[in-house]
């Protein structure tokens, strides 16, 4: 049974309890006391030591030119645990696997820190830790799931903006929520990562958003990088045949 997250951004109040709960449970080090100076978001991005990140879209006016006042948007970002995960396919050691709960999981005893997963993630989630030398990201609290309890972030979320559960149930719940929001007049609400038609596929950690994905620093139509393996090697093969023949002919030349 595949489990995942449904993160409903309309319920997020930006308290960052998920960030803290994640750091505590997973014993991740603090990232220093740097202030971004342009936002309440001082975390700024997911990293090898930050597996939940609350984004703050601080706009006072709507961007559609009507001058309508809008609420700030807050969104607790996390690893998407993609159906077709770029990091997992890139991993040359087989350290990144899909575990029995359907999560994309980095085995810390296998990873050798090659770092190839890092640019292979179309969402910019996974990072390489300087101290341990290992790639790291959200495990969907694999250890807690084994004991039958929900991940730390979902447990800590005071508004149930982060909801953990079986994927089918989550989808149903999320679609119901979108319907409710539409009835209440929030017509911009939609699901990001459900019934997707991209090469990355559906996201086991999906989101309810009210503005276009790029507003939250999410890719619109992300692409699976490994789609380029075949065209790249085919092109290389053609070049290899050409160069071999051309070099052979040039080195041969006129016989005397």
């Amino acid at each position: 049974m595949t489990h995942g997250f449904f993160t409903d951004t309309t319920l997020c109040i930006g308290c960052k309890a998920c960030e803290i709960a994640c750091k505590q449970w997973n014993q991740l080090p603090a990232d220093g006391y740097k202030l971004s100076s342009f936002s309440y978001d001082n975390t700024l991005a997911l990293s090898s030591t930050t597996w939940r990140h609350v984004a703050f879209v601080e706009r006072s006016r709507s961007t559609d030119g009507t001058g309508k006042a809008v609420n700030w948007l807050m969104m607790s970002d996390v690893c998407k645990h993609c159906t077709h995960a770029g990091c997992m396919e890139a991993c040359p050691t087989g350290a990144i696997v899909r575990n029995e709960f359907g999560d994309v999981y980095v085995q810390p005893d296998i990873c050798n820190g090659c770092g190839y997963c890092v640019p292979s993630c179309p969402f910019g989630v996974i990072g390489r830790n300087h101290d341990t030398g290992l790639a790291a990201k959200c495990t969907l609290c694999y250890d807690r799931q084994k004991d039958g309890i929900e991940p730390a972030c979902a447990k800590a979320c005071p508004t149930d903006s982060i909801f953990f559960g079986e994927l089918g149930e989550l989808h149903e719940k999320a679609k119901q929520r979108v319907k409710t929001l539409h009835e209440r007049g929030e017509t911009g609400a939609y699901l990001y990562g459900v019934d997707e038609d991209t090469s990355v596929g559906d996201l086991n950690a999906f989101f309810l958003l009210t503005d276009r994905p790029s507003v939250y620093n999410l890719p619109e139509k992300p692409q699976l990088p490994q789609e380029h393996i075949v065209p790249g090697f085919v092109a290389s093969l053609i070049a290899a045949i050409f160069l071999t023949l051309a070099t052979a002919i040039s080195l041969g030349g006129r016989r005397k």
Binding site: C111, L191, T244
Partner: protein
């Protein structure tokens, strides 16, 4: 059914406008139109950490593959009069391939776990394929080099190995190794282009062939450099000059195609300090200048002076190193630019579906 959604009825060009085909409860078919927004201009994807070790490996791997190919062709087709080219090619590929795993292991976060690379073989991971390819090619290099060393009398202190090596079917090893060498010289480009980094990913049809071609031209340049230091190689050098010109012309063609293929994504490759270095060091003095000088001497039907040839070989080598450097640096800039990432996703999506 296609509906166009707008957040308000008032503006036609709203950035929040979207075309939807599956209903609002699903992501399917939501195609966002208008310019993508940005989150404080922060990067959307993460850049690779790769530094000098990887740049140098890309360079040396190309030379190793290229020189093995040249030595193999010279041996199999009996193109070498005095065996100097074959000897130089075998030793050079061995030296370069010997340095490669050291550089790669240095780059790992956990160097002591380097052997985990050979735990599994994954056909969809360019790095996994590369690890196996490099191991196979490295073994072929080892065998042909030991064979050469045995014939050169370098292994006389170990008679058993000499007897063993003289019994090796070297032509078969060379043929297989040449395929491995071509793979090692080109997979590094495929490795870069199968990431989410816009400038690398968009150049997927060029990057592998470009790295391979540069590998062959830098291999020919280093072999020509080595043979220039010896005597009685004039005929071989003249043949190699032709091969070099073919490789460099191919390289120039690929470089010329880049601006068109990359569109606006070419910026980190062709502008700024990295762009200037690329333009002057790789395209200018690494490809165009040597090509023109060689062409000039061909046109007046005179053979190129040895000193000039050595100088041009060095320029080609430096150009090849700068080529790997600028692609790595351009990848960092490109990954850090969220606009490039959104633009890349958009054109790829449109290219597939319209």
């Amino acid at each position: 059914m296609t509906r166009i959604y707008r957040s308000t009825e008032a503006t036609e060009t709203s950035t929040a406008a979207r075309i939807e085909q599956g209903g609002p409860s699903a992501g399917r078919g939501i195609t966002w139109v208008g310019r993508a927004e940005s989150y404080y201009g922060l990067p959307l994807i993460k850049k690779a950490h790769w530094g000098w070790q990887i740049i140098l490996y890309f360079f040396l791997g190309g030379i190793a593959g290229g020189s093995f190919l040249v030595a193999t062709l010279a041996d199999l087709l009996k193109l070498d009069d005095n065996h100097n080219l074959i000897r130089a090619g075998r030793y050079l590929s061995f030296v370069c391939i010997l340095a490669s795993p050291i550089l790669l292991i240095l780059d790992l976060g956990r160097p002591e776990r380097f052997h985990h690379m050979l735990r599994v073989l994954k056909l969809r991971s360019a790095m996994s394929l590369g690890s196996w390819g490099l191991s196979f090619f490295g073994m072929c290099c080892g065998v042909t080099t030991a064979y050469q060393a045995a014939h050169d009398g370098l292994l006389d202190w170990f008679p058993l190995l000499v007897r063993l090596m003289k019994a090796v079917p070297v032509k078969a090893v060379e043929a297989l190794g040449a395929i491995g060498g071509l793979f090692v010289a080109s997979y590094t480009g495929v490795l870069l282009s199968s990431t989410a980094v816009p400038v690398w990913a968009r150049a997927r049809h060029i990057l592998g062939p470009l790295f391979l071609t540069s590998g062959v031209s830098t291999a020919l340049a280093s072999l020509s450099f080595i043979l220039s230091l010896g005597r009685n190689n004039q005929r071989t050098l003249e043949k190699m000059e032709r091969a070099e010109m073919v490789a460099m012309s191919t390289e120039l063609g690929m470089l010329a195609a880049l601006p068109r293929v990359l569109g606006p994504l070419r910026k980190p490759l062709f502008t700024g300090r990295a762009g200037a270095l690329f333009g002057v060091g790789t395209i200018g003095s690494g490809v165009v200048l040597p090509l023109l000088v060689h062409l000039g001497y061909k046109l007046v039907r005179r053979s190129i002076p040895r000193g000039l040839n050595v100088g041009l070989d060095l320029l080609v080598l430096i150009g090849g190193l700068i080529l790997r450097y600028t692609w790595i640096v351009a990848g960092r800039t490109s990954a850090d630019d969220p606009k490039a990432v959104h633009y890349y996703n958009e054109i790829e999506w449109n290219g597939r579906h319209h």
